[in-house]
Amino acid sequence: MRRAVVTGVGVIAPGGVGREEFWGRIVDGKPAIRRISVFDPSRFRSQIAAEVDFDPAAHGLTPREIRRMDRFVQMAVVCADEAVRDAGLEPEAVDRERMGVSLGSAVGATITLEEEYVVASDGGRDWVVDDRHLRPFLYQALVPSSAATELAVRFGAQGPAAVVSTGCTSGIDSIGRAYRLIQDGEADVVIAGASDAPISPITVACFDAIRATSPDNDEPEQASRPFDAGRKGFVLGEGAAVLVVEELEHARRRGARIYCEVTGYAARANGFHMTGLRPDGYELGEAVKDAMAQARLEPEDLGYISAHGSGTKQNDRHETAAYKRALGEAARGVPISSIKSVVGHSLGAIGSIEMAACALVLQRGVVPPTANLTTPDPECDLDYTPLVAREVSARHALSAGSGFGGFQSAMVFSALGDSRAGGGA
């Protein structure tokens, strides 16, 4: 079986643009959540978000590119630049017909689509809109595969390219697709990750309508409280992460530095409800068990779990049940944390951001904490690494995700020397 490794990491997250800024922020456990600044949120129930201070021009995008690209595409491109640089990958030096793109996004160019609609419909008055007022490249906003095209064109990647849009598991599933493309011999290198920029009135309104987001507007930095008894919902975020996922021998031949190996990936659907979760965590547990089995791991082998930990009442209990179901007693011995306490929930992007965190945890031997976890919910009784980062010698890290539509995904990264998936390194 062909094996896939991570050779480059790029991240844009609230609190800092770039991998090292991101790492510093999550290890410090300092929430990057504030009152929404990109529009006046006064009319909404939840008025806070994890925003990124992002200037695309400062990261090399041209004025033409900035006009053409929605914010989620801009962030994907800047992240991909960082990941490719980090991987020491010179696209000209690889067979670009064997280089693919797999980008996750839950809601695509939602900011552009809303802004333009408001203009074309005279502030929402007209159902039949006047297209003469619309900006160019709006088709590229309507169909988010344009983001995969931007990356393919930028790096000359002529292999398989697509956007994966499974809602809030998109960022795990897009890396999962990259892993499969490499295993199945359809690509040697895949630019894989996810991006979402959902902080717009319609997105805030749609989560208000189901009371999914936290209304703790007075204390934004304390509003994202995964696994805490006082949690009141998730905090909307934005961001992106891109990994260079590469076939092991391809990476070795060019002398690439290897963060870790992708050793397991599994997905299940709960078939239960578009937003509701079964309290027993059965399907997520199945995904975790499957991913662990692919990586040939026993529960005791896990050194870290990056939790979905959205901070909704139902998710955090569901997830706790799933880990107990999948890992048994060993679930109590694994350090777990939710970086959403710091960077919020960026919908489809967060899965890739959390995989980036797993790659860094394995490389650096530090588990980032769950911020704001001061009063643990008795029903969330695992080791959720409250408040303070912890040194560990993790050799295998698991990340789990759960999203609207009932999709649940799990992925395992392993330090290369310890990976068993390919029969030893």
Partner: protein, 402 residues
């Protein structure tokens, strides 16, 4: 022995009809389903013609509670999936739900739903926004709803690759089958004819302004958009044979996807990556181009892209050596529903040994054996389905007779 993926059920909801029988009859008689847009007054719109699903009654397929939670695009998916499972005589409730999956393609999501809720927000305020906006509009809504309705609890997926996505979803379904899934509900639908979605499409220079869609014609002036699509039931071959599936239409023998990686909107100067997708799909099927009995072309309807496609087919197959058809001239281009519908056409052609026609194209097309009327072919054993997406996506699938 390696696990092989076959198509055992087809569900069509398209301008050519609802259900496989009506769709296939209309297709073979070359009856186009393109007309003036009827769902709203499109008099002021640059796009006034489209392929529309005739007499679609969503209430026949979706109960009232779900109707208000979902967009027309998901209604098409509900209907097509129900028809496909019935066609396959596959009752998901008799299977282990973890053995079943759903992978759909989506290009633009729940357009009318999203427009209505943004309108409510801006004209009436945040409290007017539906509690279902968060699940009705996003690209994963159809896969999620199908998973819940039919208890498909294995690995599910949603792929976006503009009009190439339907082939990519099929390839993903075949991958899941090879890796152990028993059956996958796959394909794609699209509902792109609401006012704002059409306005967004108008930014594409290649949309026809006059309702005519004539791929490979010297006077080709763009494509007509359309709504609908197809859902296919893909199943592991031995499992299908053991349970006595009524029709095994075709095997998914090989797939490939490439990207031009040239420019975000303009076509690449040549057809190198497109031809490579064709060759790879044929080679992965263990075949040579001479084995392919028909090509379902993408048929962009844009002179540059049409020339590229004709040149790529000629290069791979030789001039005039393989029948080429663009039955989507009867429906318009259905974005993520289009490639899925082409796969359904190809499966029907293989099962019946008849090629559906290309309509509306006058005059000879040098180097192409374009199928103008339904054509019976003896010994048809393999079909190549091609799909290109805006921005440079090229996907290809080879289906073979079982």
């Amino acid at each position: 022995m390696s696990r092989r993926a076959v198509i055992t059920g087809l569900g069509v909801v398209a301008p050519t009809g609802i259900g496989v029988v009506e769709h296939w009859e209309n297709s073979l008689s070359g009856r186009p389903g393109i007309g003036p847009i009827a769902s709203f007054d499109a008099g002021g719109s640059p796009i006034r013609w489209a392929g529309q699903v005739p007499d679609f009654d969503e209430k026949a397929f979706v109960d009232g509670k779900l109707l208000v939670q979902t967009d027309r695009w998901t209604w098409f998916a509900f209907a097509a999936a129900q028809l496909a499972l019935a066609d396959a005589a596959l009752d998901p409730s008799l299977a282990d739900p973890f053995e079943l999956s759903v992978v759909t393609a989506s290009a633009s999501g729940g357009n009318a739903f999203g427009q209505r809720e943004i309108q409510a927000l801006w004209s009436q305020g945040s409290r007017a926004v539906s509690a279902y906006q968060s699940i009705g509009w996003f690209y994963a809504a159809s896969s999620g709803q199908l998973s819940i309705r039919h208890q498909l609890k294995g690995a599910c997926g949603v792929l976006v690759a503009d009009a190439a996505g339907g082939v990519d979803a099929l390839a993903e379904a075949a991958r899941l089958i090879r890796r152990g899934t028993g059956a996958v509900v796959t394909g794609g639908t699209e509902a792109p004819l609401s006012p704002y979605a059409l306005a967004c499409q108008a930014s594409e220079a290649t949309v026809s302004r006059d309702g005519r869609y004539r791929p490979f014609s010297p006077d080709a002036a763009g494509y007509v958009p359309g709504e609908g699509g197809a859902i296919l039931v893909v199943e592991e071959r031995e499992r299908a044979l053991e349970r006595g599936a009524p029709t095994v239409y075709a095997e998914i023998a090989g797939t490939s996807s490439t990207h031009d990686a040239h420019h975000v909107t303009d076509p690449a100067p040549g057809h190198r990556q497109y031809a490579r997708a064709m060759r790879e799909a044929v080679a992965r099927a263990g075949l040579t181009p001479a084995d392919i009995g028909v090509v379902f072309a993408d048929g962009a309807g844009d002179p540059v892209r049409d020339r590229q496609e004709a040149a790529a087919i000629e290069e791979v197959f030789g001039p005039g050596r393989v029948p080429v058809t663009v039955p989507k001239t009867m429906t318009g281009r259905l974005y993520s529903g289009g490639a899925a519908l082409d796969l359904a056409w190809a499966a029907l052609a293989l099962a019946d040994g008849v090629l559906p026609p290309t309509v509306g194209v006058e005059g000879d097309v040098p180097g192409l054996d374009l199928v103008r009327q339904a054509r019976t072919v003896d010994g048809l054993s393999a079909a190549l389905v091609l799909a290109r997406g805006a921005g440079g996506f090229n996907s290809a699938a080879v289906l073979t007779k079982v």
